[in-house]
Each structure stands twice: as structure tokens, then as C-alpha cells.
């Protein structure tokens, strides 16, 4: 039973796995410590609502990243003085981000070139 529920969750996040990690890491690197809502909000803003994330997925991603020691969490107060957990990127996280970003750019470049070729042809 546990399996099926987990499986379902996995399928939903499938598109985003890897991609979402990269986005969260990049957001934290760029913005500094943020809470889960802030991260979700930021990603939606940047993507101009093209990617409407099931925001719960962000937390799955955060758990995973904490687990890999790429980000840290600590309690703090939000803008309107609400208690919230803030996440910040670690050095290991920055390294991972750099590596993933380079990788991503390479792939994006290849795909971009391919698409250009296709439209030119």
C-alpha cells in the first residue's frame, strides 16, 4: 500500500526529477535562505507560471537535497513574522549546482542546435 502511494508520487514528479533539484539549488544560490513557500513562489515567478508546480513536490525535493547535504535548514521568522523553516545552500550544494548547470547548458545547447537545424531544414 505504501508502495503504490509512493509510486504514484514518483510518477507525478517524474518530469521534474533532477530539473526541480537544479531549480531549487539555483534559487537558493541566487536568493539566499528561503522558506519552502518562498522557493515555490520564486520558481513559479521565474517560469512565468509556465511550470505550475504541485507545491508539495518542492518539499519532497527539499527532503532529498537535505539528505544529500546539499542544503541546510533552520527555523526563522518570515516577512510577516510567521515561524518558518528556512533553507540555505551548502558548499557541496554549490559544487553540485555548478556541475549540474554546466551539464544542463551543454544539453540545452545541443537540443537548441538540433531544433534550429530542424526548423532551418
Amino acid at each position: 500500500m505504501q508502495t503504490t502511494r509512493a509510486e504514484a508520487a514518483e510518477k507525478k514528479s517524474e518530469i521534474l526529477q533532477g530539473t526541480l533539484d537544479l531549480m531549487v539549488l539555483k534559487t537558493l544560490a541566487a536568493m539566499g535562505p528561503l522558506h519552502g513557500y518562498g522557493i515555490a513562489k520564486r520558481i513559479e515567478q521565474i517560469s512565468a507560471d509556465v511550470l505550475s508546480v504541485n507545491q508539495g513536490t518542492i518539499y519532497l525535493c527539499l527532503v532529498r537535497l537535505v539528505n544529500r547535504r546539499w542544503i541546510l535548514s533552520s527555523w526563522g521568522a518570515s516577512d510577516n513574522n510567521r515561524k518558518a523553516r528556512f533553507y540555505s545552500i551548502t558548499n557541496a550544494g554549490r559544487k553540485q549546482l555548478a556541475a549540474e548547470a554546466a551539464n544542463w547548458e551543454r544539453i540545452a545547447a545541443v537540443i537548441g542546435r538540433l531544433l534550429q537545424l530542424a526548423s532551418a531544414g
Binding site: 509512493a6 513557500y37 507545491q55 513536490t57 518539499y59 532529498r64 518558518a84 523553516r85
Partner: protein, 872 residues
């Protein structure tokens, strides 16, 4: 801890709640109604229950909490597969149970401290003859000198065990009696169950001829009400002053049954009057006592050893005639539970059993590892998903280990039951270790602890490998459907390795069982030179030689034999001094004018050779004219005749033994009277009527299978000697059985273990095969669809199993060859490198492997390629 766990849950809830609140606030700012805003927020965040779970998995909850959760989860998943669970529990129980049983015997015989306060202070002192390199008992004067001179001991006592005819509770019985010095029980610090223990005055008073002595009896035959009553030992009255608790089983194990009656040492002279006239309490040459003492606190064994050696050297100087070569050795009493010289042989027997049971355990572990591995591989998807969700590998390994422990727990209980039964069986098997050790074989604290510790070690052994293997990070491809056909390459080697190990151990056990079994069978087919069939023996209760009761006993024996000869159910009846198949012989010095040598001497009744079926080669048998006043006559066997008078006619020759000169009147065939393994020894037969020793055994040969003969004989005897009962009847086959007990027990142990191992191996092979076929259904389907011949595919899979079996058998054979030397001394009549035994064990395992593999292989043949491809 629960509090902490709730706190972690609460933190997640709080985090999610604040997220929801922020979503709501924003929606309200955008103009939504608060109710709609809440709904929208929940939709946006999604399923929070699942988030919490992922959180828990990743964080690792406090230990107790995860543990409880793991236990719940594991028991649920184990209950879902009752077949697997039962098989695993039973397999484990057998492995652990067998080892626990062997441990309880090993521990009791070799290691367990005696059950007295400060057992480490208790030591045994054995005399050692440097000339013959043998351990000896101590003489009474030696004991007295030691006791007077030692400073490192709190107390030094001496004791001796002897059987005595005891009249108690209106019944005559032969019971083991221990005669102990007055300080014996206070030295052991044993408090009585009732009454008091001996004091030095009791011992002193017993040496005075007028006083009635005192005795203590075991809780097993009396209680507080017995105190003050009189008990008769060899018709001498003793007043009971104390009750010895049941748990006291004597400090020495190799004297048969534990004692039931205790008397002061000096009172032995009352029970055995000849002890006094023989000078047992005066001569240093009379060595009949065991010496046990308690060291002063803080004194080390070496200090006591040095002191006792020095004292022994002093005594040797003072009494060089008897003690010139005598030294004394001090042993920790917990380690000297039997004659020191036996230690090596007992240790070797036990080591063989321990080795065999250890193999069973390793085999069990290999088997369970394999079972868990296949189960683990089947669950790879589950693990992969949980890891992807953020569950730490540690957490998964811990959970798998929890499952293993859940298997071990009930196994431990079943194992204790198995150990209890096995231990009792081994302990009560007469002569199991080649010595009549009085072992209890029960389950007590140390055994319990061992069983639990072993379960834990075993669980780690068999559980850890599969746990790590199945949670390896590279199982992630398992998530992808295609991972199914190709995965597990490395793990297949691991499984094959585990299988090969099982086959190898199984091979060792089978070869062992075969060798011991052949040894026993050989023994049965050896012709000892006389016939054991329809032969029955019974022991007489023998008074000390030369006493007045000897004559009475002898007269009764003759009367009995006369009456029995009239019974139609007996073919013949005789008397003998030695029991067939008993290794104890009476050895005597024989002189002729030319030669002096040692030989066995047996005192036999009339018709002995006829009853035993020993062929008389020349001359005549003893007859009724050979009585005490007639000239003394002897019969010799061929071997003795050849040694005394090589090339000459032994008939009519004169020889001297035991200060008696005899004329040889007959020659009989050599027989293996004492042991089927030894070659016949030179033997001198003298007739009972001309000996001063009364015969110890009645020997009968029945006409048919007369069941009622025993009660008839017993009734006849009780009419003659009501106070001196006959010991139990034993058949010739029983005697051989007892003589062969070490080999028979070993055969049983190895046989049972071998059988278990074959079952385990076949289950293991079957499961590996079945699993491999199930996993590769798709691959095989594709291959069949592409036109591969089914037979080729089957052959390939079968070949794999048979190769594994072949490797296992070879390795097992090599181990057996190496271990052969260890058991060589216990396996008689068969070479430990017996090729037939190796070949048949290998063949058996080969057949088992083939059968285990062929059933799943047949299933493979039925795979329908279309269905196989569609199935995933």
C-alpha cells in the same frame, strides 16, 4: 523518545501549516474568499501525508520509534509469506539448536565453573608419576602431609567414590557412595538442604571402632524427615545427619552416576573392612584418593602449584621408596572435572561434534542469506522507490536486519527446545564420549546466554550480506522496467558462491556421517571369535575379595547356576570375571621357567567356552573336578601359548601367575573379548573354583527368544541372596552397542546433521533455480521467440547449477580430506580417506542438485514466449 518523535512530526506539520497559511494569505490578497483560499491552498500543496512519510524516512526517527515501526512493518511483511517465514525459522532453529546442545555438553564437560561459591578458588590436586608419565590418585599419608603443610589453601580435602549395597526405605540397592574427609562440604561451601554437613570430628569418630558413624544422603532419596534415621551400607548402620541438595552432582564427572550417599572417609573401613587390613590409611603405595581443595582468596594457581610441588619434593625425599618419582599437579577444579589424562580424548570428541554443529550453523547461515537475498531482490523496486523518496540506506539496512531478528527470535525459542532434547539425549547416552561421564545436558543460564548470543551473531551473519546487497545504490535502475532481465549479475555470483559453500559443508557432513556409520557397521561385521546373539549378562554385587561374604556369594552363585541349568529356556549358563566388550581387563604377570610376561587373566566358570562359543582347540575344558583342593589348572589362548612356548606343545606345561602355579590343560581360540577393534590379546583363563576372586558376571545363552527369562533368573537369585540384588540384564548386542557408543553417537550426530544439510541444500538450490527462472522469464521468452531451442536454454541453466554443485563437492571433499586426520582416532576399521564414501556422498549431492534444479527448469520449458513478453 516518543516525545521527540512527535516533535519531529510537529515540525513538519508546522512547516506545512505555515506554507498553507502563506498560500491562503496570498489568495485572500488577490481577493478570494477565505474558504476558497483554504481550498486552493490545499490543492496547491497536494497530499501532505505522503510528505510526512518521506520526511520520516529521510530524517531517521529516534531509535526506539523507528525500531517499533520497523518491527511492525517487518512482522506484517513476514506474516504475508508464512511459508518462507516458517522455513526460515525452522532452518535457523535447527542450526542454533544443534549448536546450543553441543555447547551445553562442551561447557558442562570442560568449562562451566562448579556450582559452588567462588568456584575459581577450587582446585584438584593430582599426583603425577614422572617415570610412567601418568596421573595417579593420592595415598592417604600423602594427603595428610599435604594438608598439614600447605599454606596457600583454606582447606584441603580428599574423597573417593565407590558403589555400595545400601538398604534404605525398605529396599536394597546398589548406590554410588562418596566417602569424604570431614572438611569436604565446608571446603566446597555447600550448605545442606536440611540437617548439617560433616565436620572433622565425624571423620575422627568414624576411625574409632566402637562408634556408629554418620552419613548424609541426597535430596533425591530423602528429605528433612530422614534425619536421625538409620541407613545400612553393606549391613553397617549409619545415622543420617544431613541432606545434600539435588544440584550437587559431585565434583568429578567420570565416575558414572552422581553419588547418593556420603560417609566420612574413615568410615570406608566400616563398609570395606579389608581397607583397614590392607593398610589403605597407612601405605603411601596405596593410591586411592582424589584431593580437592580451596585456595585462599587472591592466591593464584601457579603459587599453589609451586608450593604443592615443593611439598611433594619434600615427601619424595622423606619416603623415596614409594614417592621417588611422584610430583603433584594442581588444576582448577572447574577444568578438572574428570581424570586429567582423559582430557585430550574428551576434548577431541567434543571438538569433532562442535565442528560438525558449527558447519551446520554456517550452512544454515548460507542458506538463509540466500533465501533473504532472493526475497530482497524481489523487493528491489520497493527499496529503490523508498530510496528515491529520500529514505537513507542505513534505514533500509536496519529495517532488513529487524526482519532478520524477527526471524531469529522465534527460532531461538524453538532452538532451546531442540537443544534441551538433544542435550539430554547426548548426556544420557552411555559412554557417548568413550567415557562414562555423568553429564546433565540441561539448559541453564550459560547455555541460554549462548543460545541468545548465537542467535544474534547468526542474524548478523546471515542478514547483513543480503541487507547490503539488496540496498546497493545501483539498484536504482531496478526502477526502470528494463532492469529486470539484466540485473543481478554480480549478485548471481554471490548466490552461486553461497550455494557452493552450502554444498561443500554438506559434503563434509555427509562424508563424516558415512565414515562413522561405516565404522559402526564394520564393527558389527567383525567376527570377535565368539557369538553375541542370544547372549545375556547380569552383574553380581561383589564384596571385597577375601571377605567372609565372598564365600557366601560364591556358594549362591553355584546354586544359581545349578538351578538355571535345569531350566529348559537356557542353552547354557556360566560365570565370568570380565564382561564381553568391556575394555577393563585384569592384567597379570605370568612366569614360566623361561619367560615372564603380562597377559589378561580371566576367571571363568564351568562351560564358559561352550556358552561364549569360543572354540576349544586342544586339551580339555575345566570340569567339576577342578575344585579348590585339586591341582591348579589353566587354559591359555593360542597367542599366549605361542608367546610362552613357541613351537612346543603347551599342554601339560607349568606356569605361575598370582603366586599360583598351574598346569595347562587346554588351548582355546584367540577372541576379541574386550574390543572388536583390537587384535586378540594373550589371555590366561583360570577356573572360578580355584580362584580367590568371586565371578562378577552371570552369562547366559538363551535357546530361543525367551522374554520371561530375566524375571525367572532374578527370582531364583533373590531367593538365594535377597540382600544383594543382581544388576540389570544386558544382551550381547547391547554390550557391543555400549562399546561402540562413541562411533554410534558420532554417526547419529553427523547423520542427522548430514540429513539436515541435504534438505537445506535442496531447498536452497531449488529456490535459487526457481528464482532465476522466474526472473529470466522475459529473457528466455525473447530467446525462445528468436528461435533458441528450449533444450539449449534448459541445459544452460541446469549446467550452471551442476557446476555450482561440482565446485561445492570438490571443495567439500578437499576439506574432508584435511579434516580426516582430526577424526582418524575415532573412526575405526575404515580409512578416513575411504574413496567409496567420498564418491557416494558426492553422488548423493549430485542427484539432489539435479532434482532440485530440474523442476524449475521444466517450468522454463513451458514458458510461452508471447505471454512472457507481454507479462512485463
Amino acid at each position: 523518545m516518543f516525545f521527540h518523535s512527535r516533535k519531529v512530526d510537529a515540525e513538519i506539520d508546522e512547516e506545512l501549516a505555515s506554507h498553507l497559511a502563506m498560500l491562503e494569505e496570498e489568495s485572500i490578497r488577490r481577493g478570494m474568499s477565505p474558504r476558497d483560499a483554504r481550498r486552493a491552498a490545499h490543492l496547491k500543496l497536494g497530499d501532505t501525508a505522503q510528505l510526512r512519510e518521506a520526511h520520516r524516512d529521510s530524517r531517521g526517527l529516534p531509535l526506539l520509534d523507528t525500531l517499533l515501526q520497523d518491527i511492525r512493518y517487518a512482522s506484517r511483511s513476514l506474516i504475508k509469506i508464512p511459508g518462507f517465514t516458517a522455513a526460515a525459522v525452522l532452518t535457523l532453529a535447527i542450526g542454533i539448536g544443534a549448536n546450543t546442545a553441543i555447547f551445553s555438553i562442551v561447557d558442562e564437560a570442560l568449562f562451566r565453573p562448579l556450582d559452588f561459591p567462588h568456584p575459581d578458588e577450587l582446585v584438584d590436586v593430582f599426583a603425577f608419576d614422572r617415570a610412567s608419565q601418568k596421573f595417579l590418585s593420592s595415598s592417604f599419608p600423602d594427603y595428610q602431609d599435604l594438608r598439614a603443610r600447605v599454606t596457600t589453601f583454606q582447606a584441603l580435602s580428599a574423597f573417593v567414590r565407590m558403589p555400595a549395597n545400601v538398604f534404605w526405605n525398605g529396599r536394597n540397592q546398589e548406590l554410588p557412595v562418596e566417602a569424604v574427609t570431614g572438611n569436604f562440604f565446608s571446603m566446597l561451601a555447600l550448605s545442606p538442604a536440611a540437617g548439617r554437613t560433616f565436620r572433622d570430628e565425624d571423620d575422627y569418630l568414624a576411625s574409632q571402632p566402637v562408634a556408629q558413624s554418620v552419613a548424609m544422603i541426597s535430596e533425591e532419596i530423602g528429605d528433612a524427615r530422614s534425619i536421625g534415621q538409620t541407613i545400612l551400607l553393606e549391613d553397617k548402620p549409619f545415622t543420617i545427619i544431613g541432606i545434600v541438595p539435588k544440584r550437587y552432582r559431585g565434583t568429578n564427572l567420570n565416575w558414572g552416576a552422581p553419588p547418593k550417599v556420603w560417609i566420612p572417609l574413615q568410615a570406608t573401613a566400616l563398609v570395606r573392612p579389608r581397607f583397614r587390613t590392607m593398610g589403605l590409611f597407612e601405605h603411601r603405595s596405596m593410591r586411592w584418593l582424589l584431593v580437592t581443595g580451596r585456595l585462599k582468596p587472591g592466591i593464584r594457581l601457579q603459587q599453589a602449584q609451586a608450593e604443592v610441588r615443593a611439598i611433594a619434593a619434600g615427601i619424595a625425599r622423606e619416603a623415596p621408596k614409594d614417592n621417588r618419582n611422584i610430583s603433584e599437579n594442581v588444576f582448577s577444579a572447574s577444568r578438572a572435572k574428570f581424570w586429567p589424562a582423559y582430557r585430550a580424548s574428551v576434548t577431541r570428541s567434543l571438538a569433532v561434534f562442535a565442528g560438525a554443529s558449527g558447519l551446520v550453523l554456517l550452512l544454515t547461515c548460507a542458506n538463509l542469506s540466500n533465501l533473504l537475498l532472493s526475497r530482497g531482490l524481489a523487493r528491489q523496486r520497493e527499496f529503490a522507490i523508498r530510496m528515491a523518496m529520500g529514505a537513507g540506506r542505513k534505514r533500509l539496512v536496519r529495517q532488513l536486519l529487524t526482519e532478520s531478528f524477527l526471524l531469529a527470535l522465534p527460532s531461538c525459542l524453538v532452538a532451546l527446545a531442540i537443544a534441551y532434547g538433544l542435550g539430554r539425549l547426548l548426556a544420557h547416552f552411555p559412554n557417548a564420549l568413550g567415557l562414562p561421564l555423568a553429564l546433565n545436558g540441561g539448559v541453564e543460564n550459560r547455555v541460554l546466554f549462548f543460545c541468545i548470543a548465537l542467535s544474534i551473531v547468526t542474524t548478523v551473519l546471515f542478514g547483513l550480506l543480503p541487507a547490503f546487497e539488496t540496498t546497493r545504490p545501483d539498484v536504482l535502475p531496478a526502477l526502470k522496467e528494463s532492469g529486470r532481465t539484466l540485473s543481478g549479475g554480480g549478485r548471481r555470483y554471490l548466490r552461486n558462491l553461497l550455494m557452493a559453500v552450502q554444498v561443500a559443508f554438506s559434503m563434509v557432513l555427509l562424508v563424516g556421517a558415512g565414515l562413522f556409520g561405516r565404522s559402526v557397521m564394520r564393527a558389527w561385521s567383525v567376527d570377535p571369535g565368539f557369538r553375541l546373539d542370544r547372549l545375556w549378562t547380569a552383574g553380581f554385587n561383589i564384596p571385597p575379595p577375601g571377605s567372609a561374604s565372598t564365600e557366601r556369594l560364591r556358594r549362591s552363585q553355584y546354586d544359581l547356576v545349578r538351578r538355571l541349568r535345569e531350566l529348559p529356556l537356557l542353552e547354557s549358563v556360566t560365570l565370568a570375571s570380565d564382561l564381553p566388550m568391556d575394555r577393563l581387563h585384569f592384567v597379570t604377570k605370568i612366569h614360566t621357567p623361561d619367560v615372564a610376561l603380562s597377559a589378561d587373566q580371566q576367571t571363568v566358570g564351568l562351560e564358559f567356552f561352550h556358552t561364549m562359543g569360543i572354540a576349544l582347540l586342544r586339551g580339555r575344558d575345566f570340569d567339576a573336578h577342578d575344585n579348590s583342593v585339586a591341582p591348579k589348572v589353566a587354559i591359555v589362548n593360542e597367542k599366549l601359548a605361542g608367546q610362552l612356548w613357541p613351537g612346543r606343545n603347551p599342554l601339560g606345561q607349568i606356569l605361575t601367575a598370582q603366586d599360583t602355579t598351574m598346569r595347562v590343560v587346554g588351548i582355546v581360540r584367540d577372541v576379541k573379548y574386550g574390543s572388536v577393534w583390537e587384535s586378540p590379546q594373550p589371555c590366561l583363563y583360570v577356573v572360578d573354583a580355584q580362584s580367590n576372586r568371586a565371578a562378577s558376571y552371570l552369562i547366559l545363552r538363551l535357546k530361543g527368544h525367551a522374554a520371561a527369562f530375566a524375571s525367572t533368573v532374578t527370582q531364583e537369585w533373590n531367593r538365594l541372596m535377597p540382600r544383594s540384588p543382581l544388576a540389570d540384564f544386558q544382551s550381547g548386542d547391547e554390550l557391543l552397542d555400549i562399546a561402540l557408543a562413541p562411533q554410534r553417537v558420532a554417526t547419529g550426530v553427523f547423520g542427522a546433521f548430514g540429513l539436515m544439510s541435504v534438505v537445506l541444500v535442496s531447498v536452497g538450490l531449488y529456490s535459487v533455480m526457481a528464482y532465476a527462472v522466474a526472473r529470466r522469464t522475459r529473457e528466455i521468452g525473447i530467446r525462445l521467440a528468436l528461435g533458441a531451442k528450449p533444450a539449449v536454454v534448459v541445459r544452460q541453466v541446469l549446467g550452471n547449477v551442476l557446476a555450482v554443485a561440482a565446485i561445492g563437492v570438490s571443495v567439500g571433499a578437499a576439506i574432508s580430506l584435511l579434516l580426516g586426520g582430526v577424526v582418524a582416532s575415532q573412526i575405526k576399521g575404515v580409512s578416513v580417506h575411504d574413496a567409496a564414501m567420498f564418491a557416494s556422498s558426492a553422488a548423493l549431492l549430485g542427484v539432489v542438485a539435479f532434482c532440485a534444479a530440474v523442476i524449475p527448469a521444466r517450468r522454463m520449458l513451458r514458458i510461452d514466449p508471447q505471454q512472457a513478453l507481454r507479462s512485463e
